[in-house]
């Protein structure tokens, strides 16, 4: 991963409480897994930044190395990597996602 990409990722995570690295945008997801996580955040009314990795090939590959995680989407909450689609879905269903949002003082619809 080049330095520029690393800085871009770090800055995105630093500047946004909740960010979702995804394929497509929150309004027009281009992959079912990205859409699933995006929808869960919308239902919880979380204010999140969606970053479309399809617009930047360096970012698409870079985020996988950055998180040491081979798939997209990837969700960061307050600079912490929380998981990909399967984990977020599980956390959404068992209430852990709300708990982590609460613990990290991120506003959402409870």
């Amino acid at each position: 991963m080049d330095q520029e990409t690393k800085i871009l990722i770090q800055k995105t995570i630093d500047d946004n409480e909740v960010c979702l690295f995804m394929k497509g945008t929150p309004d027009a997801p281009q992959c079912g897994f990205s859409m699933a996580v995006s929808n869960m955040l919308k239902i919880l009314e979380v204010d999140y930044k969606g970053i479309n990795v399809l617009e930047n090939q360096q970012l698409r590959e870079g985020i996988k190395k950055f998180s040491d995680w081979p798939t997209i989407p990837q969700l960061y909450i307050k600079k912490e990597f929380v998981g990909g689609c399967d984990i977020i879905k599980e956390m959404y269903e068992n209430g852990e996602l709300k708990k982590i949002l609460q613990d990290k003082a991120v506003s959402f619809k409870s």
Binding site: K64, P70, T71, F81, G83, D86, I87, E90
Partner: protein, 75 residues
């Protein structure tokens, strides 16, 4: 590119010999699978660590030959 269901199971079991692995071919296209992996190795580890163990067992095939594998891990 696609991957055979048996191949996925073999790779996971090589990394986690005690694992119980259930794999489903979701779309019947050899490209979209779901795997439920139960292993004592997951005990005391976070979900992220558990999923990483499964991803690592697939030796870089995830995201390449293997387009989609939904993972569920159980201790």
């Amino acid at each position: 590119m696609a991957m055979d269901l048996k191949e996925i199971e073999t790779l996971i079991k090589e990394a986690l010999p005690d694992a119980k692995v259930e794999i489903q071919d979701l779309a019947g296209d050899g490209n979209h699978y779901s795997a439920t992996v139960t292993s004592s190795e997951f005990s005391g580890k976070s979900k992220i660590e558990q999923h990483k163990i499964v991803y690592n067992s697939l030796k870089g095939k995830m995201g390449n030959e293997l387009h989609a594998l939904a993972i569920k891990t159980k201790e």
